[in-house]
Symmetry: D2
Subunit: 128 residues, 4 copies
């Protein structure tokens, strides 16, 4: 229910001179994971932005256990851990052929066009 898998193939551009997926890119892969989870639930993040709601990351804690490599087909497993009035917390797992390469917890908040923190509305809480 509150878990969603998205498959991402590591782009050449995303790999570094070690041949590994650069450690910064995991955050972008997580962003794709939660966007696709939201889409699968009927949400549309682009539309949300057009309406003036913006999601920002307030904390990210990532543990890298084994490297991913160029061309690896990764599964990004996104799990909704918690929604409060002010925050949405997701947990992530990066899997290669069933093996866990990395895990993370990312905390989101909602802001308006002026950058003011917003209470997470009920319809969004239901969707996520």
């Amino acid at each position: 229910m509150n878990t969603h898998d998205t498959t991402i193939r590591v782009r050449y551009e995303d790999a570094d001179p070690m041949g590994f997926l650069h450690h910064s890119k995991y955050l972008s892969y997580f962003e794709i994971g939660r966007t696709e989870m939201y889409r699968a639930a009927g949400g549309d993040y682009r539309q949300m932005e057009e309406l003036g709601w913006f999601v920002v990351v307030v904390r990210a804690d990532i543990r890298y256990r084994k490297p991913a490599r160029y061309d690896d087909e990764l599964v990004i497993r996104t799990r909704l851990q918690k929604v409060t009035q002010a925050k949405i917390i997701h947990e992530y797992q990066v899997l290669l052929k069933g093996e866990s390469l990395a895990t993370a917890t990312v905390t989101l908040a909602l802001i308006d066009r002026k950058g003011q923190a917003q209470r997470i509305p009920d319809w969004m809480r239901e969707l996520v």
Copy 2:
């Protein structure tokens, strides 16, 4: 007068599994080159966007002769080639210790918030 040099050190993240600066990144380096040239002339690209003017690339033609590597300190040499009522054309050279690694021609146009093409205003023609 119409030439400007900017120094950029190749980031680890910008290098690919060959250890080379990824070929897509040259376009970002050229963008930094023309922004710094514009700044040196007294312009402020961020302010321009806040006023509702946006610069878009309409054509880019790049020739890669020798690779740049992670940590190389590159000189991006930007030269204004031509300004018409509708277009700004720059030429670029990527230099490593005086040796030319790549050359390019990039053509820009001006649009407004709605994406409509704009005539390049006189004050901008004078600045660039």
Copy 3:
């Protein structure tokens, strides 16, 4: 036969402050296009690199006609235009719902681990 379509959804990270796919990213999308075309023909670019063959871009000429936006589902249409003893030339089209947003020609060469230009071997010419 010598045309291949790959679908790529524009990542949030790949979009710039205008909300457009950054112009440098098209080169990465083309790289994905030709890699997937090569994979569809039975090739494996990662394995090629492990064997000591590297493909480098020697020229790229891109024309941007209309912007792509965050979350757009783009089709990257890759067409093999020509293979000579020294070069592989592909043409690209970026399509959004059938409309062409950009076109490009990208020329590749083959090098070995030492960076020496290599003749394109017959097996590769047959594959591409």
Copy 4:
């Protein structure tokens, strides 16, 4: 002594559709921070890699407080927190005109070409 400041101007490409520095890019900016700190101490990370030593990130914990924007001139303040036999821990602060926008702790480990964890050698401990 064990603190180093590096200035980075936010690239257009690094900013997202909100106009903010994309949250994944902070990790690349931290990487530049520690590389420059290492260089200032007489180290050369590229040379280290050529000798077969590779630094990998094993954990990153980032708190984002206020957004950085395109063209902001940021100070990345890198502080060495701890070096053990197996790990190097740095703390980071992202500053804009003296105001702290984000803080982070990033833990590094050392591996060889085969990916095996290595004891951090004395000369490196002295340098960092």
